[in-house]
Subunit: 230 residues, 2 copies
């Protein structure tokens, strides 16, 4: 597939922008990446996502697709050149969608909360939300992966991409709060999974260095930014 057919508008620190890129890598589809600034936003971004004006946007054959998880599903449906991202069984597909929605709608705000909390109480609430969510995902991993290494089985799938795109930010949260959230003791399943995910060829060049992300996080939250991209 020619690179010009597929373009991603994103930003390196964004877990949401990482998702379509991982999906395209899993599918072996070349793409062009356009780095967007927080401001000013490019004309192409404003034109392609007039409702939210947010990254990521994927442009495929001149048509824009918005919202990271919708883009990943679109990639799965359009490109059959690599393994399926969503399970073929409808019940397993509903389960993957359930946990992906849980991660974005509920757990994500706790993860970011650890970095943007202003009071000790806010920080404690965020840490509690972060750890209790990971405990649920640790348990879910065992049922869903069936010992195959990924939520998606032998290869990276929809739920791996959804959670895995946050691993850099989990490390930022660990550094900022001085505590591990994914490790061999608390979350042995997720610990093994995270290592496997980050070293996968589809992921390793996309995962930002923790130090660099930490600097970005400090800048972002000190400026009162950090609005959710999805």
């Amino acid at each position: 597939m020619a690179a010009s057919d597929v373009k991603i508008l994103g930003a390196w620190p964004s877990p949401f922008a990482m998702r379509p890129q991982i999906a395209l890598n899993v599918k072996n589809v070349d793409y062009e990446f356009q780095e967007e600034n927080l401001a000013p936003k490019s004309e192409l971004l404003l034109k392609s996502n007039p409702v939210y004006k947010k990254i990521p946007v994927m442009i495929h054959n001149d048509k824009p697709i918005c919202e990271s998880l919708i883009i990943v599903q679109y990639i799965d449906e359009v490109f059959t050149s690599g393994p399926s991202l969503l399970p073929s069984n409808p019940y397993e597909r509903a389960t993957a969608r359930f946990w992906a929605t849980y991660i974005d709608d509920k757990w994500f705000s706790a993860l970011f909360g650890t970095a943007k909390a202003k009071t000790d109480e806010e920080k404690a609430t965020a840490i509690e939300g972060l750890t209790s969510g990971l405990a649920l995902l640790e348990e879910a991993f065992e049922k869903i992966s069936k010992g195959k290494g990924f939520f998606g089985g032998e290869t990276i799938g929809y739920l791996d991409i959804t959670l895995g795109s946050f691993l850099g930010w989990i490390r930022v949260a660990e550094t900022l709060t001085g505590s591990n959230y994914i490790d061999e003791t608390k979350t042995p399943n997720l610990h093994g999974w995270a290592n496997k995910f980050c070293s996968d060829a589809a992921v390793k060049d996309l995962m930002p260095e923790t130090e660099k992300l930490l600097e970005f996080a400090k800048m972002l939250f000190s400026r009162g930014l950090g609005a959710q991209h999805k």
Copy 2:
């Protein structure tokens, strides 16, 4: 299909609980409906949706599926006895998913905001969000439906169900604020669509009477309730 194979745990005023029921009606699948109270919640609900403990839940062959839009997608994938709910074209499918996500993640809070607003300023913000969202959907309808009557084409589809399930609550908002939001002047496309949707055989027995819903809304918001079911 025997009724006992499919069970919906829901509540009559819930737009979210209406969605899987409309989807099953479109697919001509019989189901059993179990009315849940706000409190106490049934053992079956708590067991079936331990993460959110919320309606709707669909139980199919003893397995629970949660989150209304995930259930509707599951119904579409499992029951091929009726028309497809999601378009077959991946780009059109992504577009339907985009607007459905917009409705639930952004527009819905404005709709409910008109009923639960405590100050004039909150009410004005809610009304602005409600009307600007409907203006976007009015425009989207023209592009998506291509003159066929529904967002889904000739028959009710995914996006029709997502927005249509709120029509009772839009009428409540209209009564509470003394203004029409869907009418022939402001939103001619949606006005025609809403009439067609509400009189469809898959919908008409499920749409609650405005008066009854209004009484429920007053009770709900006076008690400070109204948490989002999804």
